[in-house]
Structure formats: C-alpha cells, structure tokens
Symmetry: D2
Subunit: 141 residues, 4 copies
C-alpha cells in the first residue's frame, strides 16, 4: 500500500498575484510543504543525518497541471501519494482539493543524495528510509 499523507492549509495574501488567484509557482511550494509534512509524519526530515551521511533530496523534475484557480483565504487540502520508490529516487503526486474538487495535480521526482562540502552525489536510498516511503511503516501490515 503506497504511503499517503494530507494536510489542510489556507491560502495567504502574499501567495496571490494581480490576477486575483494563487501564482502558479506557489503550487510547487505547497507540494513541498505536504512532502515535508509527510517526512515528519514518518519521523524523518528532508534535512537529515543517516549513519554519518548528510542526506538531501534535490529535485530531478517537477510539474503541475492547473484545472481551476485558488483564491485568498481558500482552504485547500493537499493529498500526497508516493507513486514509485526507485533505487535512488522516488516519485510522488499531490492532489490540490478545494471544496472536494481537484483544482490542480502536481508531480515530483526527487533523488537521494549525499551532501558533500562541494556539491553532492546520488546514493541508494537507505533501507530504513525506503521502507517508510514504501508505506510499510503505516497501518499494521
């Protein structure tokens, strides 16, 4: 069963633009917001040490489809689903729900990296982290 996590949050004034709706770039920040809440729900952080490694999760690709606007003070529900856990990377999707309707769909691919003094290099996702991303830590299965 794939891991899933959701949060509700309110649209802030500073997230809107002159068209009166949320600026399209801010959907990517919301995707990250639910992703990081998901990591915390697993007892993890995207900025973490693991067996003496400093681990980070840079993005390989990010996309969003927009079906309708979000406006100031709207309460939006962000539903994140892990769709694939690969050797070194993982994929997830985020449904943006407003009043029960999907107003946007985001997709992200992030790669597990060891952070070095100069740059970083991709590494195999540590087993303990992989199991959590796979959803094995959720429910009693």
């Amino acid at each position: 069963m794939p891991a899933q996590h959701s949060i509700k949050r309110r649209i802030q004034f500073s997230e809107t633009d002159l068209a009166g709706v949320v600026h399209f770039s801010n959907y990517f920040r919301m995707m990250e917001e639910v992703e990081h809440a998901f990591f915390r729900s697993l007892g993890l952080s995207v900025v973490m040490s693991h067996e003496a490694l400093e681990i980070g999760w840079p993005r390989v690709s990010a996309s969003c489809e927009y079906f309708g606007p979000l406006r100031f003070e709207d309460e939006v529900e962000l539903v994140m689903r892990v769709t694939k856990v690969g050797e070194k990377s993982f994929n997830y999707e985020v449904d943006f729900l407003w009043e029960g309707r999907r107003v946007a769909l985001g997709k992200m691919t992030s790669v597990c990296c060891e952070m070095l003094d100069k740059g970083m290099r991709s590494i195999r996702i540590p087993d303990g982290v992989r199991r959590k991303l796979d959803g094995e830590a959720q429910g009693d299965a």
Copy 2:
C-alpha cells in the same frame, strides 16, 4: 521560424534556500520572467486590452527538469522558444544556461482567456497576437 527570446539575469540571495542553491520553485518565476520580456519585445503585455477585451494567459501546465544547480550571484541566460501556437493556447520551452551549459529545461502551456468580473473564459488567440507568437514579426520573412 519560431519566435525566440533570451535574457540574462543574476541569481538573487532571496532565491536560494538552505541547500545553498536556487529553490526549485523559483525556476518557474524565471520562466515567467523571460516569457513576459518576450511579450514586451513584441510590443505586447500579458496583461492587455485587445479590441475591448481584457486578456490574460493563465497556465494550464508547467514543468521543469533540473540538471544542475544555480547559485547566488550566478549569471543565468534564459532562452525561450515558442514550440506551438494552437487555437486558444500556446506552448514554450525555456533553456536555463549557465556558463554555456544547460542546467534546467522548463516547459509551459498557457491559454488565452477573456478576463471577466467573475472568472474568465478561454478564447481564440487574436490574429495579431498569434502572428507575433508565431514569429512572423521577427526577422525579414
């Protein structure tokens, strides 16, 4: 010949995050920045009146692939190419070039809309605008 436009701009401190690189969401703002510079180069604006219509260009989809980081004070070149001009929408791509190397590739689809008091509706791209997006206004062709 498809329309093309490029700008150079410097990475600002506020665009970086704790990983020491440009936050992935800010690439979408840079895509918009070169898009709007392109519109201005055609004598247009994304916020414009055309024959008594208020026209806007909401996004249908946006995506970005990341090949390498951008850092504070880097000078990045943004090269935008119109890839398709449809009945009501148009597509473009943006190469993010740093020291001659492509560090990211963005893609966008925007739809031409009449802005109404409540919401908006998609319309056929006005001919004068279409010709400019098609690149007919550029070069001697």
Copy 3:
C-alpha cells in the same frame, strides 16, 4: 483591553536562504499571516465589502527587529497585539517567539482605504470594524 491574537506555524524549506535561516523578508509575510488570522477571528477579512464599499488595508510602514535566527522546521509562535486604532489607520506589533524566547519584533501601520477602479482613497475606519480592532468584541468587557 487591546485586541490580541496568536498562531503557531512551522518554518518551511522555501522560507530559508543560503545562510541556513529564514530570509529576513519572510518575517513580513508572517506578520501579515497572523494579522489576517486576527481579522478572520473577528469575523472580518482584509478584503471585504462594507456598506457597499470595497475596503482594503495598504501598508504605510513596516519594520522588523531581528534578535536571533529561525530555521527550517522550527515551530514559531506569532503573537499580534493592536497597539493603536486611529481615525483612518491602525498599528500593531508581532512578537516572534521560538521556544519561549522572542527572536524578532515586527511593527506595522495600515490605513483603511476605499478601493476604487483607479487607485484608492483613505477613509475613516467603519465603526463596527473599529470596535473589533479595539478589542471590545473580545472577552466579556
């Protein structure tokens, strides 16, 4: 008794900069966040109609003093206090509390305006709004 309101919120990754702390400009967005939550707690919105007027609250001045940093995933408490309700404007302060310590102090002055098609003009704060900002709607006083 002056009106007061507080919220707790977590620092997001996109709010940090390459120094590893929250970018100083984002404190102003947090000030606005608790201000707008305060308005909602009074049954108001900063974007509202009142007796056929469209009312807005542009800023006259904003300032912030910084005593210590905020970092990714910190939980910060924002405590807003109305410090003055004038004829046409009001002032408030925001304490930024982290682990019980004040890490920043923000101050804001906003003016009540009627929003017109072209621009806006300052107006007397409507009585019903003034009473709420004055805190008369809070407690049993």
Copy 4:
C-alpha cells in the same frame, strides 16, 4: 562622501498581489538586490572569505515606508546610500523612485559576522571593507 549605488529593474508579475500592486514584503527583497549590487560594484560579495574568515551580514533591523504603489512592468530605480559605518555594523537607505517620484523609503542595519559551524558572532568590520563602505574607493579622493 558616502558611498551610493543605484540600479533600475522592472517589476515582475510574481511580485504583485491581488490588490494589483507589489506586495509590501517584496520591497525588502529589492533593498537587498541593490545592496548586493553595491557590494559587487566594490569588488565585494556579501558571501565572502576575508583573511580565512567566512563573513556574513545578518540583518539587525529593516523598515520601509510606503508612499505610493508599484505595479506590474513598472521600471523602478533603486538608489542606495550608506548612512553610517559603525564598528561592527552599517546602515543604509534605499529610495524607490518611479517616474522621478519617491514611492517608498527603506532602511536597513546589517552587522558584520564571522560565520561559524554553529551560528555566528559579530566582528569588527575589516578595514579594507570599511573603507569601501565609507565611499573612499569611489570618486577621485
């Protein structure tokens, strides 16, 4: 003669909010933009090594007064003046000019710090940097 520096830049769509004007928090990012351009004009960077020290300039206080709005595609001139160079900190002001009129005035105090693995500590501004901030490197003096 105090050091001074100015840049011109265009207001971007993503800097506006639903009121149709630049969000007040973005003035602080513009203040930083001209400050960093000023440092570069002196051959410095706000992120620099100096005699084996890693130096940073965290903000102690920031404020802005707003006299009129800025809108999408406006070209704004940012004029920065160093107003005081102290033992460990320096102050500057930024005039926001639009069509020759001052639409905002920003003020900032930053302190010179040695960046340590954990946190930082304020230090005396290095002499070579101080002379440049004092404006001695400018003009024919």
